[in-house]
Point group: C2
């Protein structure tokens, strides 16, 4: 079925075009901030009449919700592969950090908006997003508890507080990461895996295999920084 | 000289009143975001005519600049006491974390605005703030280099990258800290000192005195969480 046939046979908005408009809206939200962006700005960016945007959305907030919802759901899908991973806590935590950094740097615009503009959503919509966010955090919490049970992570740590602190550290990457910078996302993820693991590891865990392997990788990255991208 | 005498003898705006208005502006910026706040909102909050605000500032951005400049300068003053501290790198890094967390949680509104709304300033003003910000970061970088020279911090770490990561972790506290929460700022600073130190410490540093003391403190905090505020 061709594009023109399709537009004759159905009335709804074109999903591909919608996707494109949402992408443009995200770029503007990230640059100007959500509050300072008008529907007119979005219309201008995609070369469409303002009135035509209302075929796709009822309000500016609809764009924000779509962007944040899609990013949150996609991140949760990625992290669920880590949740299902059958391995020790050290390896699963490293995998978590890698999945998280890969997603945050690979979806920088949408993920930054999710972090910064959440509170501009209506309480109702924020609640829906928050449920997914909690499921996401729960994956890290479960890994920390697993590590405590295995004796490789500090038994005394407050798992909830530590999850908040460590995710805060990982999310801050969205404040300074730029494509083409001195480190690749994979290299950054290795450095982060080091800082995250060292924060939670117990004396017994310190001697473990995963830690030693990671330490070697991080040292290699630091040493090879100059050569990494030249 | 009484307040009324003073207002008769000088024409300029009252500094105390200005301070009060800036505080009100900061509260609104934090709640609504800078872009969504109007001069009218600020006037309403302090019960003043919009026109009268122009005795104090020329634009909304003047408020933002005052808030961010004051917070940045005050933070830098605090951290310079750590910069001047004559002690080993482990103790100075712990002192840095404490000073940082104390400041961020003690000036939550202004410091959050500094982190989130910096880019709303004109390039010129942003440049001035950035210079102070770099002096601030330099204090941590110097401590990390000191620790490398002493052999207590990882010789292979990229000091600039690690500073960015660790300050990102510490600054994220502004996203979730609330007064009256389960932990006091001092307790949080101890937990953060643990995650920060463990991220940079070398094998040799691990056996050191400062680390052992810190570990005991962090464990005590976690164990005593329930009792801490009851």
């Amino acid at each position: 079925m061709t594009q023109s046939r399709r537009s004759q046979t159905r009335r709804g908005p074109d999903p591909e075009r919608y996707h494109e408009i949402v992408g443009a809206a995200a770029e503007i939200f990230r640059q100007k901030g959500y509050s300072a962006t008008s529907i007119q700005d979005i219309a201008d960016a995609v070369g469409i009449l303002k009135g035509s945007l209302y075929h796709y959305v009822r309000s500016k907030e609809d764009f924000l919700y779509t962007i944040i919802k899609d990013a949150t759901e996609a991140a949760l899908r990625e992290i669920q592969t880590v949740a299902r991973m059958e391995a020790g806590a050290v390896h699963r935590l490293v995998a978590f950090v890698h999945a998280h950094v890969r997603f945050a740097t690979g979806h920088l615009t949408a993920y930054s908006i999710r972090l910064r503009e959440m509170r501009r959503l209506s309480p109702d919509r924020r609640g829906k997003i928050r449920a997914d966010g909690e499921a996401y955090n729960k994956v890290m919490q479960d890994i920390l508890v697993q590590g405590q049970e295995q004796g490789v992570f500090d038994a005394g740590m407050d798992v909830e507080l530590m999850t908040t602190i460590l995710l805060g550290q990982l999310n801050a990457v969205t404040r300074w990461y730029r494509e083409g910078g001195p480190y690749t996302p994979e290299q950054l993820a290795d450095v982060f895996a080091g800082t995250v693991l060292s924060a939670v590891v117990s004396d017994r865990g310190l001697g473990g295999e995963g830690i030693e392997e990671l330490r070697r990788r991080v040292l290699t990255i630091s040493a090879g920084k100059a050569a990494a991208r030249t």
